[in-house]
Amino acid sequence: MPTSRRAALAAAAVAVLVLPLSACGSSDGKGGSTDASGKVEGDITFQTWNLRANFKDYFESVVAGFESKYPGTHVKWIDQPAEGYADKISADAAGGTLPDVVNVSPDLVAPLAKAGLALDLDKAAARYEKEYLPGAWASHQIPGMKGTYAFPWYLNTGPLFYNKSLFRKAGLDPDRPPRTYDDLFTDALELAHKSGGKVATLANVPTIEDFGRYGVPLVNQQGTAFAFNDPKGVELLTKYKQLYDAKALDPQALTATPESSGKKFLTGAVAMNPGSALDLDNFKKQAPSLYRDIGITDQITSTGHVNMYVMGVMVNSRTRHTPAAVAFAHYVTDAAHQMAFAKKVAIFPSTAGSLDDPYFTKQDGTDETRVRVAAAKSLKTAVNYTPVLFSDQMKTALRNEVAKALQGKQSPKAALDNAVKACDTLLRQQG
């Protein structure tokens, strides 16, 4: 077939043309310097992640404050919606249109840093390090790389909520919620048994943070491979399998998302749900009858360290105004501004000493304050269990292997072995 040969030739010709085009995207070393010591001036863009709807005034005042502190600067604030954030950043990073200062989470920073797009703050802004909690500062360091690639911003953690009336109906004491994993598993089986399998206690399959909180080593010593298939991990998964068989783990857990499991808790189909101070407000608005009977207890861990989530602010290494970008990223995340932000919404500052503020230590009798004070206290030793290099693809791989174990299609041991193998492969492919 002569036509197909011609087509092949044409394709080859096009390939030669397109390759160099599509292969751009990183490390051409253009623009930007790591030197943040120059004069703070110029136009920069600051991108947040879904904060505009509720905090427009706050951010506008932060920008105004910065601009008046540093005449000659102009900050353009843009906010992206919740969905598709990673896709948006990917396109911008690949297309060279990444904003100067970007709101990120540790898992977003890692690939950006590896591609040379995140500024190393240990070089450009080391003097600010002491202003932050050491654990928070370290959360944007990447195994296998030197340096810190984002300022820590707000932290979040929270208690475990439970539905007292469901506890009561199962003959459990609503004022004595489970505090250890053993209690949790016993109570969960009891709840399922008494309700004839209609009330589950947990709505989610174990995730990487659950393994971490249970005391499973997640990554090997060198940080080059995953290790959660150790006996402790197998133990946790075996427990979950028992719960699943007894319907104490919701049958829909295998396909659940955090959103859907939250709804299950709201409808009273699930007895316990991890959450944060923010959820209290949510319960009040969306399920007033549940709110009247809500129980609050501490996160359950075997390690003594609760899990926390960290948000960061990174500086684009290609920015044309490194001093201004670094100054602004620091300005947004400094103690005063983090404190002001924390008072607007129930999150926690990552700056040193802020958690000792009376706002985080003094009770005033309300549930909100109780949750806030307890969370602030636990944050001092909290850990961000999710490994920085644990990508979305790895999460899916783990989740699917865990699901197979719960369904009884493979043993817990085999499931974790497979998951570790898949994640290690993905880790290598990430380069």
């Binding site: 505009r52 992206q80 919740a82 598709g84 060279g96 608005k285 999150i347």
Partner: protein, 304 residues
Amino acid sequence: MSLLEKAPPRRPAAATARAPRAGLRDEHGRRVRAWELVLRYVLLLAVLALTVGPFLWQLSTSLKGPTEDIFSSPPKFLPGHPTLHNYQRVSATIPVWDYALNSLKVATANVVTNCAGSALAGYALARLRYRGRAAATLTFVLAMLVPVEGIVIAQFTTMRELGLNNTLVAVVLPGSVGAMNVLLMRNAFRNLPYEIEEAAYVDGADVWQRFLRIALPSVKGTLAVVAIFSFMGAWDDFLWPLIVLSDPSRFTLTIGLNYLHGTFAGDERLVAAGTVIAVAPLIALFACLQRYFFRGVGEGAVKG
């Protein structure tokens, strides 16, 4: 095909339809039997429950007040204290009218370019004879088959090279002449009997005149389909506008409404109200255009 020689729009049946009143008549002017009418309505109502029911629930949620439990089980259908408060809150939370205006611009532009572009191309594919026609058709078929999920970033890079990123033009361009619409128009033109144009040709009409005056008016129905599909496509699109726009003042409604899923605690009622805002214009548009789909069928039917 020659058997289907199209009679001019005036139907002989139209005359009979206006004749003796009493009862309903179908499009052929025959009386509709009572039991058939009942059966039809029963079926219509059954399908109605199936297609609209879920939306009524959304509407009901959006009307529920702040003290109502929206997650009670079993679910409650009617709001206890209906209120429009949630709609006010949507417009207080996000500049919903600005977003809607952007969406309207994008959707309108998309309708215009698609109607014009796909009618022209469809006509060329169906009616004009030239070398490479098969190749041109194939191009559109292939374009329709390309899985979009895989090309978004490449499209973005192209837009950036053209300096169009972060403009509403860039939102419209990739879908401005949808391959599927071209193929729909081609199908429509092909189904037109040649004789109609032939007569015009004999009268000395050139190809543009034949296209504009004869062919185009005969495919109004399909053109309306293209219009509504392209309006809808532009109105509902999320990923592409999100990728290509960075300036929030240019965001379209779908992106803007996504802000309602708050980072901290979303509110189902707000989301529901946002949904209603997004869907209502489309339903209105369809209600306005739908009579064009029945062009030629409707005449001589009910009327009394």
